[in-house]
């Protein structure tokens, strides 16, 4: 009879960019149960609404995460704008969509690099991050920042991108397509990569639905679930269909993110080609006094932003629910029954962001 052993995994581990702890109950080499615990980097950022005016909170919310910071800023603005009935100009919505899709590319390229690093393919890791630099260069040129750029504000955006700038972005991204294809062909077709990912950590469609999974994790299990379908930002005016795969394994999660890289290039190109003229922001008058729940499709999945105002300059509550929060139950489920050697791959393909989760 096999003997049960508990192996502590994390909070510090080579494949974990951020601290999360798992107690892995194993029999021989097979995981029979995984018990997660978080809280190592809880910063209490939501609590800062008591000390920062609602116009300043956008800077705090952007700092929840260094990868999807623009999306967090936009989500916060969307919630407070909804709360105050502010109608953002179309041009600002298109610009926000461009920066948000660039952030998705930045996140997915970073993730591909981490995955490659996780299975020991160092040159693939370096190529992924080399391509990511082009995206960061676009951020720097258009906003002045590479990671956190504070370009989103209540009522619109702070900076515009002129016609020449848009043309240059489209040209740069068109040039990247061939390089991304060359890179992602290795992720999708290489024998050694497939050996680590195909058939590992399978989450069926029914399980993904039952566990309320979000983002690429849900779409890789066949769920057509993407908050960009609700028509916020410029998405209602763009041709868009979520990338959905059916296999539900680590390879399918990789495929979804690869397809989303090309999809983001397409969405940015559509935005640049149909960019409306006009203002990039409207003045914000008064203070929020109601409540509003806004949602965003972050690179890792659906995020919630719930704001409550009381008519003063300080919000009573700002709640942020990030995608990893909702994917932890699915991670626990898929770890059950997997080989101990597959645990790092499985955790990586969920693309957990613990900074986001703990805020």
């Amino acid at each position: 009879m096999s003997k049960r052993t508990i192996i502590p995994f994390g909070p510090q581990h080579p494949v974990l960019p951020e601290p999360v702890h798992l107690d892995l109950v194993i029999e021989d080499e097979r995981v029979v149960e995984a018990i997660p615990s978080i809280g190592y980097i809880h910063r209490g950022l939501e609590k800062l609404v008591e000390k920062r005016e609602f116009t300043e909170m956008v800077y705090v919310i952007e700092r929840i995460c260094g990868i999807c910071s623009f999306g967090h800023g936009w989500g916060y603005c969307k919630s407070v704008e909804g709360n105050m009935g502010i109608v953002v100009p179309d041009r600002a919505e298109f610009l926000r969509t461009i920066w948000h899709e660039l952030s998705r590319m930045h996140s997915h390229l970073l993730w591909l690099g981490l995955l490659a690093d996780g299975f020991g393919f160092e040159s693939l890791f370096m190529h992924s991050w080399r391509l990511r630099e082009t995206v960061l260069d676009i951020f720097e040129k258009t906003t002045g920042g590479r990671v956190i750029f504070s370009v989103c504000k209540l009522g619109g955006v702070r900076k515009d991108i002129d016609a020449d700038g848009l043309k240059e972005i489209v040209k740069l991204l068109a040039g990247m397509k061939a390089e991304i294809k060359e890179l992602t062909d290795v992720f999708l077709e290489d024998y050694s990569v497939k050996n680590r990912l195909v058939g590992v950590g399978v989450l069926s469609r029914d399980e993904a639905a039952e566990l309320c999974t979000v983002g690429p994790m849900a779409r890789a299990s066949g769920l057509r679930q993407d908050i960009r379908l609700d028509g916020h930002g410029a998405y209602a005016k763009l041709a868009f269909e979520p990338a959905v795969e059916e296999d539900g394994d680590c390879h399918a999660r990789c495929k979804v993110r690869v397809r989303e890289l090309f999809q983001s290039i397409d969405l940015i190109t559509q935005c640049a080609e149909s960019m409306p003229d006009g203002e990039i922001s409207v003045p914000v008058k008064g203070s929020p006094s109601g409540e509003f729940v806004a949602r965003m499709e972050q690179p890792r999945g659906e995020a919630y932003y719930y704001s409550i105002g009381n008519g003063s300059k300080f919000l009573e509550r700002m709640r942020v629910r990030t995608p990893t929060n909702m994917n932890i139950p699915a991670m626990v489920k898929t770890l059950q029954g997997c080989d101990l050697a597959d645990v790092p791959m499985l955790i990586l393909t969920i693309d957990p962001c613990i900074s986001c989760t703990e805020r």
């Binding site: 809280g39 909804g82 309320c212 609700d230 028509g231 729940v293 009573e316 709640r319 629910r321 909702m326």
Partner: protein
């Protein structure tokens, strides 16, 4: 694709006694649990349960009192254990029949129940 779904806000006030039935109804109607959070507004605590179906958002708003145990919805939506444990740790509310209870050890906070300091004295 709807242009207006992101602006739709349905927030339905409910009582503790009807919580589990309402949540069960949402599950049977095919809704996905989006999130659950606690908040204090106007001196009164409440929980907000958010559900999604085809990008349409429905929220159930439950007023709660300090010290009043709240029925856990983990029997209907198991992933809610994440939120209920978070609320226990940050707000000090207790959930009855919580499927996976970390007993205040889910978040490692410097001081107990930071969002509801009154609980510290009790």
């Amino acid at each position: 694709m709807s242009e207006e779904k992101h602006l739709m806000q349905e927030i339905i006030p409910i009582e503790v006694s009807e919580l589990l039935d309402r949540v069960q109804d949402m599950k049977e109607a095919g809704y996905r649990l989006g999130q659950l959070c606690a908040a204090k507004a106007g001196g009164q605590f409440h929980l907000l349960y958010s559900f999604d179906k085809d990008c349409a958002l429905t929220n159930l708003k439950l007023p709660v009192k300090d010290g009043e145990p709240i029925p856990s919805i983990t029997g209907v939506y198991w992933p809610a254990f994440i939120y209920e444990n978070e609320i226990q740790d940050l707000f000090g509310f207790q959930f009855k029949h919580l499927a996976l209870n970390y007993n205040g050890k889910f978040f490692k906070v410097a001081e107990p129940t930071p969002w509801n300091p009154k609980q510290k004295e009790g």
